[in-house]
Assembly symmetry: C2
Homo-oligomer: 114 residues x 2
DNA sequence: CGGTATACCTTTAGCTACGAGGTATAGCTT
DNA sequence: AAGCTATACCTCGTAGCTAAAGGTATACCG
């Protein structure tokens, strides 16, 4: 099945979006392209993933959307709220925890206790 | 919902199980305890997670199970197969990729391209 | 005028982690 | 003897989230 990124992806789209929007306002299509770039092509997320997450973040109050017309096309810009910043740092901390726990376990020096 | 570890958990139970079983044969209940230990308490996985994954890995040929009676209790020991070893290294590589991509993006030095 | 790029969006499917619950034995404590 | 805790296995249902596919519309280039 879906074999673009596989496993290890849960929660990651949200974290990436919050990371990018912490820096500056961006719109959906732009976020899709940026994610590919800032992860060094390691992670590619389609629009079908990005838009639903953006909408959910808006509903939960982490983001605020504003429509802006540029060259006849309508862009929906997202801006991070205070709640969003809080959520971002919480998720980032959780990511650190999981990551270091897993890396500790994967370390060949770590031996499995009896 | 389920707030023991939250997000970032997809694929991780499988990777941890394979990591532990790469070292030596173990049984389910033991694996549950070991995971807590080797991750420095960062990750705790319940039996409801472990058993289904073990069964799936067995079905797919990554593990081979053997029942062994110890002190009147029956333990099901799992041993990694060649296919399992292969799957382990593939997953580990994928984890590296996702991890470094995400960390690159999270690095404050990384600036979002315009 | 047709194709490609931009820009938005929804629906459906499917995986999988997780909690709750269920069985059974062994051993310790009261 | 009764009851609790620990060991050891297991299943089912829910719910969250990713992902692919498909759908609309405008702008620009040849």
């Amino acid at each position: 099945m879906g074999q673009t990124n596989p496993p290890f992806m849960s929660g990651i789209p949200e974290l990436l979006l919050l990371r990018l929007l912490a820096q500056r306002d961006m719109y959906g299509y732009e976020l899709v392209r940026s994610i590919r770039l800032v992860t060094g092509e390691a992670i590619t997320l389609g629009e079908g993933v990005i838009y639903p997450v953006l909408h959910a973040l808006e509903r939960s109050g982490a983001l605020k959307a504003t429509r802006k017309a540029v060259d006849g096309r309508t862009r929906v810009y997202y801006r991070m709220t205070a709640a969003g910043r809080k959520r971002f740092s919480r998720l980032q901390g959780e990511w650190q925890r999981i990551q270091s726990g897993l890396n500790m376990a994967l370390d060949p020096e770590t031996d499995v206790p009896t």
